[in-house]
């Protein structure tokens, strides 16, 4: 079995029981941050796989919101509280929207892709903000999730949702890791470098971008459903540009070198934000901006590059000692 898993996947599988265990060990507020980070981390993963093909989505909040609202509307208007059904609602809504929008977005690159994705997300923001049936700018609440007829309450409900979130996030991360190593994932990297050559090698760059866009949307929607159920609330802020900007922030902060990077990056961002607000309640954004600036200057490939450069230097040392030993 281990042969079919790479190191990242093994790491993610090992992380799963550890993630679940911390719910029983760490203070509740930290566990809550981890849970919220996992939801938004999935959206950051969506941004990250698009960044691999050189595309920056400034509107990924769109699918975060679509997932959350699809689940919320299923609960509000149909009385459904089953997590798996609500997840299915979120995924289907994201699929329908992303497949349709993908035909438009796949034709654009660079700033045009970024701005177009942002524009679409802001259209949804405007729509939701002015729809009274959906609570306008206040949004609306979601019920506690049930699981195939089982309706846990209190601490059990919280732990169950947390555990399922852990499973979902690790499963999504492994799936996306496989995607990045698949032929399409490889083509994405090539698109970032030279799209003309990709077409001349015999494949459609548009199709690859479209598939990536849809996959990113689905993962973001799953994040949206899990996040909404964890907080028990959805509002249009989920698709506001500031929220989408955070996902881009996370991807830059963490780097796109590994699928685990955005998940870790999201948690780090949450922690930075908590302390920034505590240190400087009125100007905490300045601290976030400074962190962003320093990351871009000193770690242009993100925090993950610290790990890869450390690995490289260790390998170089080993090579050097091997050559000294005459091997």
């Amino acid at each position: 079995m281990t042969k079919s898993l790479d190191r990242t996947e093994l790491g993610l599988i090992i992380a799963l029981p550890l993630l679940i265990c911390i719910a029983f060990v760490l203070p509740k507020w930290i566990v809550n941050y981890v849970q919220v980070s996992m939801g938004t981390g999935l959206v950051a993963l969506g941004v990250m796989i698009q960044m691999r093909s050189g595309l920056v989505s400034f509107g990924q909040g769109l699918y975060f919101c679509v997932g959350g609202y699809a689940a919320g509307m299923g609960a509000k208007f149909m009385g459904i509280s089953d997590l798996f059904v609500l997840l299915a609602f979120g995924i289907i809504a994201a699929l329908i929207l992303s497949v349709s929008l993908g035909f438009l977005l796949r034709r654009y690159r660079e700033i045009f892709y970024a701005m177009l994705s942002l524009a679409v997300s802001m259209i949804l923001f405007g729509l939701l903000s002015s729809t009274e049936e959906l609570g306008s700018t206040d949004g609306f609440n979601l019920p506690t999730a049930t699981y195939l007829g089982w309706a846990p309450e209190g601490e059990t409900a919280r732990l169950t949702l947390y555990t399922i979130t852990c499973f979902a996030v690790i499963a999504c991360a492994i799936t996306l890791n496989r995607f990045l190593k698949s032929p399409i994932g490889y083509v994405n990297e090539a698109i970032r470098e030279n799209e003309l050559r990709v077409e001349y090698l015999g494949t459609s760059a548009h199709k690859a971008v479209h598939i990536t866009y849809v996959l990113a949307a689905v993962v973001s929607a799953i994040g949206g459903v899990l996040w909404a159920l964890a907080l028990g609330h959805v509002d249009p802020e989920m698709t506001n540009w500031t929220t989408s900007g955070q996902f881009v922030f996370v991807s830059i902060l963490s780097g796109v070198g590994n699928i685990a990077a955005p998940l870790i990056g999201t948690f780090i961002l949450e922690i930075i934000r908590v302390y920034a607000v505590e240190i400087s309640p009125n100007t905490w954004q300045m601290i976030l901006g400074t962190v962003m600036l320093l990351t871009i200057i000193f770690l242009p490939k993100g925090l993950w590059s610290l790990i890869t450069s450390k690995k490289k230097s260790t390998k170089e040392k080993l090579d050097a000692s091997a050559s000294v030993a005459g091997e």
Binding site: S182, Y186, G202, T203
Partner: protein
Amino acid sequence: MTTILETRNLERTFGAVYAAKDVNISIDAGEVLGVIGSNGAGKTTFVNMVTGYLTPSAGEILYRGKNITGLPTRDITKLGICRSFQIPQLFPELPVIENMLIALTIANQDRPILFRPAINPSLEEEALSLLSRFRIDQYADQEITTLPQGVRKLVDIAMATVAEPDLLFLDEPTSGVSGDEKMDFMRVLIDALKSTETAVLFIEHDMEIVEAFSPRCVAFYEGTTLADGPTAEVLEDQKVREFVIGSEFHRSTANDPKSKPASKAQRSNKGTQ
């Protein structure tokens, strides 16, 4: 010989300007064809049209009897027509081996496969063997940006061959390669391609190269073909000498070891005037 490509009255205009007009060229299987002409004569436009980058304004392109006019680039590649570029079109921030692996991955991909690993040891072996055929396997781990122009050209051409094309267009393969190395460069190239029985059309400004490596030659001038035939005859053609290569060029300087080598200035002028 079987004709694999035939163009009929091919035409391409940009506004009022004719970039190509009445271009009728046929290429046989396994043939090596040289294309000469001054800058702006329509050589690259011809390649761009056949490979689907430009849609002809008029005329037809037949490949193995099938009309491929206006097909997208990727579909034409899948049919077996590939090309290299005057300015190598590579993935510059990746190592040579990764460039080859991407090309192989795409060539082996019949339909989008989402979750199967693209790379496996046999693919890596195949990539290395292709690089060694072009004698550039020693550069496998180097990033493209660190390579000299000649090696980049070879990587570009090696990538174009991964799909095992029946017809390969090489757009000025020796441009950017130093004058002294051009002959050796072309020898490596033609040797590597010989084993594949691929028909090759190469655009070239150096007449010595054309004379040495292509039995047949087509001369372009102002979007039309001025002459098409055995290279020796085309290079002696009065119009070709007047409009394409200039009267200073003397044949057989490349093949005849007794003849005086062409001066550097003469070499660079040949065919570009």
